[in-house]
Symmetry: C2
Subunit: 422 residues, 2 copies
């Protein structure tokens, strides 16, 4: 059992209060979260937090982790050009071993930034699951079927990846409307009904995507999915940059999750999502980095800051998009969007997916409001420790993922060299 | 003499090439930058860079460092409300000792983020100079006169702070047009002519500032300053969020520096400066964080990222605002704007104001383009060492500024508690 003591806890259990508490972690579970107790069991390890803060880990609610190989490779291109001319041809060359090595690199970046789970849409699923399992990292897979795929995979994967390992789960989905067909939507409708599962996909990422969908079907992507019953068991959309008022009504009514990806949307010039408007309408929100090819970092501090300040620009109002709500989106919101209700807050009985933030750094002083300090000033150098499923995977700058960081870097670099320069 | 060897150097001496070089630092100067030599003098310390990167330090070309006491205190308000209702009343209570303590906190944050100099506009100048001198940090003061000040101070300070200490220099200026009078502008005109000095001020930060100036004088702030001869010896403006085409012509013709502050402009909903347009027009550019009350971090990685992605949003074009140019703005551009031509690049004879970036972190892999990795993915946890004037002030997470970080934190917190809750 691990004891974390002499620290503060931001539980995110319905509010953003910070309290002096200690935590006991037994296997994967938080056994106790409360005031120090004199009568306690024997601990395997006791960590003195020295006044630092423990909170739920960040959840990266939209990612293509293995795309690390394209970081800083094809920047400064519009989305469609970037996707069809640069990304797809190189992705076609990826082997499962490549995906394994590239995903491990992304996992190191997640851990260094306090991210404890990713909602990942990618191919060679066995390989990236194995990378997560070998590192001890939590991964939720999204289906990402396209019209040219063998759709029966979606059926099999829904069963297989929800039974594979405690760190792995699966939510059905398609890649996007523009890589789908009506037949695929019908197939997905049957699949979500049969398995009573939510449905996620890239949704309204660019204005072009929405316009072309309306040309094709007379409906926005959101209305199209609704029409085909894909949201009958919930779900949501990645990006949601260009939702209409009617789309937002569907999101609100269905309790869908809009996963905003502000850095990617900005860098690819896709636009600024109507996050503040969605907040006012009570729509469920989470935050994703998107893939490292379009961001280029996998850094939730950056995303949280962008969520807030881009809304202030979008609405020309410095008062919109409160920092506390944004922190909840990044931690608890992501967990609920990803079907991980046990990872959403810090309380006895919850899963121990958490991060310890070093408050003894210049960007955390003075202490007027620690939540605002985290959202408006936080940085990777505040991450002291990252724990997934009760295991410490990152601590004081060092990774504990079963393989050395240097070996992971070297393997990812070799794969990249072969793919991009071979 | 300090030797930095076994590393890479991004000299920023006219290009963004990265070369295998070693550096010898003698006192405050780079004595040698080139291939390893077998015949060399005795070194006091040899630092094995293990393949990491040395580059010129970031220059924070617009700051109000002592405003750390307002971090996370009055967020989410529009600029004028924020300034008149929150900032000015509390600032009136500041003592020199307060400014000293609060500036030291900002300096720690600068060093942790690889920033080696700040262009600072604040009051109680003796106190914040002393903080810089005691820490070994480089500070360029900006005049910041307002109509209610004793203007003779501007005359005396121009002489005094340019002779005080090698780490300190002074450039005349006013706070802003909306806190000035025509008499003050006339006075400043005489001052810059007499001392042949450049002139800097907050310029066109908000649309309101520009509109009210036009109402008062029939001129934009830039045209007004030009009319009064304030740019006859160069200079520039902080923010430059709302420059007209004619304003940009003046900037171009005069060789003025536009110091963009993207985080502050976004957070206060002031807008997005026309940085890409200024680049196309060949206007000199540098980057500032503004004060910690409006940002809230003092982090050049964040600013660089925001400069690039906000331009992509502003122009709806993912191809604008090249990362290499942005890195030059943050390092060399800032140095030249601040009158520090010896701190602009890494070469023999230049001043040793530099930063070592840890490339052995997940966000720096794979290596397609290290410059893009720094601008699009870099974070404070990549800062391995920060050197100012030949002295190592930050290394491996530890500060070497003559006082412990914990003592600086405690003093800044005590000052803040007295000011904001006293």
């Amino acid at each position: 059992m691990i004891r974390l003591y002499n620290g503060k806890v931001l539980a995110l259990n319905g509010d953003t209060e910070i309290e002096d508490k200690e935590l006991w972690i037994q296997d994967s579970m938080i056994l106790y979260a409360g005031p120090p107790q004199t009568d306690h069991p024997a601990f395997d390890r006791e960590i003195d937090l020295r006044g630092d803060l423990v909170m739920p880990g960040f959840k990266n609610a939209h990612a293509h982790s293995a795309m690390t190989f394209l970081r800083s490779f094809a920047d400064d291109l519009p989305l469609q050009t970037w996707l069809y001319d640069k990304v797809f041809p190189l992705e076609a060359k990826l082997t499962p071993d490549d995906v394994y090595a590239l995903t491990k690199l992304a996992i190191l970046e997640y851990l260094a930034g306090g991210i404890t789970a990713a909602f990942d849409m990618y191919y060679k699923r066995d390989a990236f699951c194995q990378a997560a399992i070998d590192c001890g990292f939590r991964m939720v897979l999204n289906g990402a079927l396209a019209k040219w795929d063998d759709w029966s995979v979606g059926e099999m994967d829904t069963i297989k990846y929800n039974m594979l390992h405690p760190l792995i789960s699966y939510i059905p989905g398609i890649h996007a409307e523009y890589t789908a067909s009506l037949e695929l939507l019908m197939f997905m409708g049957e699949l979500v009904h049969e398995h009573k599962k939510p449905f996620f996909t890239h949704n309204s990422e660019t204005a072009k995507e929405v316009e072309e969908c309306i040309e094709r079907y007379g409906l926005t992507p959101t209305a199209l999915y609704e029409e085909y019953g894909l949201f009958d068991y919930g779900g949501g959309g990645f990006h949601c940059t260009h939702l209409s008022s009617d789309d937002m009504d569907i999101f609100r009514r269905r309790g869908l999750w809009a996963v905003t990806c502000p850095a990617s949307n900005a860098k690819l010039a896709s636009g600024i999502a109507p996050v503040a408007e969605m907040m006012r309408r009570g729509i469920n929100l989470a935050i994703g980095t998107d893939g490292p090819a379009s961001n280029n970092a996998l850094n939730m501090f950056r995303e949280m800051y962008l969520v807030t300040v881009l809304q202030k620009i979008r609405e020309k109002d410095a008062a919109v998009c409160d920092a506390a709500r944004v922190l909840e989106m990044a931690c608890s919101g992501g967990a609920r969007a990803m079907g991980l209700p046990d990872c959403d807050c810090i309380a006895a009985g919850k899963t121990a997916d958490l991060v310890a933030l070093d408050l003894h750094r210049p960007n955390m002083y003075p202490v007027h409001n620690t939540v605002k300090n985290i959202v408006y000033s936080g940085s990777n150098d505040n991450v002291r420790m990252t724990m997934v499923n009760g295991k410490i995977l990152y601590e004081d700058g060092v990774f504990h993922v079963g393989e050395s960081a240097e070996d992971i870097y070297a393997r990812a670099q070799a794969v990249t060299d072969r793919l991009c320069r071979g």
